[in-house]
């Protein structure tokens, strides 16, 4: 990753923190892999995971709880971000040659293909399934004088194992699958098998079956064995 891309990411986080909204967000997507380096305290491990795109996604667990009125497009305008309305439904995305910023909220109930309005932030968000799982177990890492919330790597990896099977584009699915498997192996190497098992145990059986299927597709029978998983689940 280029230094200027990292610098821009940090500047965004710095501004969110100063505006008092950073605590409402959980960083998700491939940028997590970069920040997990802090969590694992081992550069060699995360080098294996470093295929990142410019997309930087923020998950908002409780969008209605946001108290501060912060116009995010205005907050980032002087950095050169342009606001775009994606697709026929008008999803708002902020684009910069180094980063593409988007907000996501967990999908509840029947679900909808319309954007979720975030009037306090001057944005809207994409609603997606399974995002709740990323919010149930989070970690905080220290950057400068503030903290950034990320999903626990165990939840992140298991979530990827579920969603790669829903990807329309095969190469994107493969990217997600590879990242998930590598992260699982790192967690096992780092003696975090118990955390992984706990994360697995906390999700519905239907999701567990999807995870097993994902591991079978990745031909990772060793991991299935270690996690005491079987098709009989």
């Amino acid at each position: 990753m280029e230094k200027k891309q990292y610098d821009l990411c940090i500047e965004i986080l710095r501004r969110f923190n100063k505006a008092g909204i950073l605590d409402n967000f959980i960083l998700i997507g491939s940028w997590c892999l970069y920040f997990y380096e802090e969590y694992f305290q081992d550069k060699e491990y995360t080098r294996r995971l470093s295929l990142m795109t410019r997309d930087i996604d923020f998950l908002i667990e409780h969008p209605r709880k946001i108290q501060q009125q912060v116009d995010i497009p205005e907050l980032l305008k002087d950095l050169g971000f342009v606001t775009i309305f994606k697709g026929s439904k008008g999803y708002i995305k902020l684009d910069h040659p180094d980063l593409l910023l988007e907000f996501l909220v967990p999908e509840k109930g029947k679900g909808t293909d319309k954007p979720y309005p975030l009037p306090m932030l001057g944005m809207n968000a994409v609603t997606l399934r399974f995002l709740d799982f990323l919010t149930t177990n989070t970690i905080k890492i220290k950057l400068e004088d503030f903290y950034l919330t990320l999903p626990h790597p165990a939840n992140f990896a298991l979530h990827k194992l579920i969603i790669f099977q829903r990807r329309a584009r095969e190469e994107k699915a493969l990217k997600d699958r590879n990242a998930a498997v590598e992260l699982l192996k790192i967690l096992i190497d780092k003696d975090e098998l118990a955390t992984l098992k706990h994360a697995l145990g906390s999700i519905p059986m239907k999701w567990q079956r999807k995870i097993i299927k994902g591991l079978e597709l990745a031909e990772e029978n060793g991991i299935i064995k270690l996690l005491n998983l079987s098709n009989s689940h």
Partner: protein, 106 residues
């Protein structure tokens, strides 16, 4: 199927192509020209300097409000930033097209 890396590069190319259009549109939406101040007998008068048919022309604006001054100042800064980013995006497109050139279609 394309490899993972080629898939990522193809997606990034689409992003950069979209961004090129966005920056061009953003540049078009900014107010044209820059303000130039002239001091005459202690009073400040403004001219709007812009290109018309390739020639630099001065348009008398007289005394203007602080809000208008701020608007042109911000537009000047944003124009510089957007031009820089547009140039960056064009380089990305060139690089990504080059990287993807091969047997498979983008």
């Amino acid at each position: 199927m394309r490899g993972v890396i080629k898939g990522v590069l193809a997606e990034e190319l689409q992003n950069s192509l979209r961004m090129k259009k966005e920056y061009e549109a953003a540049l078009r939406s900014l107010p044209k020209g820059c303000l130039s101040a002239k001091k005459i007998r202690g009073h400040e008068y403004f001219y709007l300097v812009k290109r018309v048919n390739g020639k630099v022309r001065y348009f008398y604006k007289g005394k203007i409000s602080d809000a208008e001054k701020k608007k042109y100042d911000e537009a000047k800064k944003l124009r510089a930033k957007y031009r820089k980013h547009l140039s960056q995006v064009k380089k990305q497109i060139k690089f990504l097209r080059g990287s993807l050139r091969g047997k498979e279609a983008v």
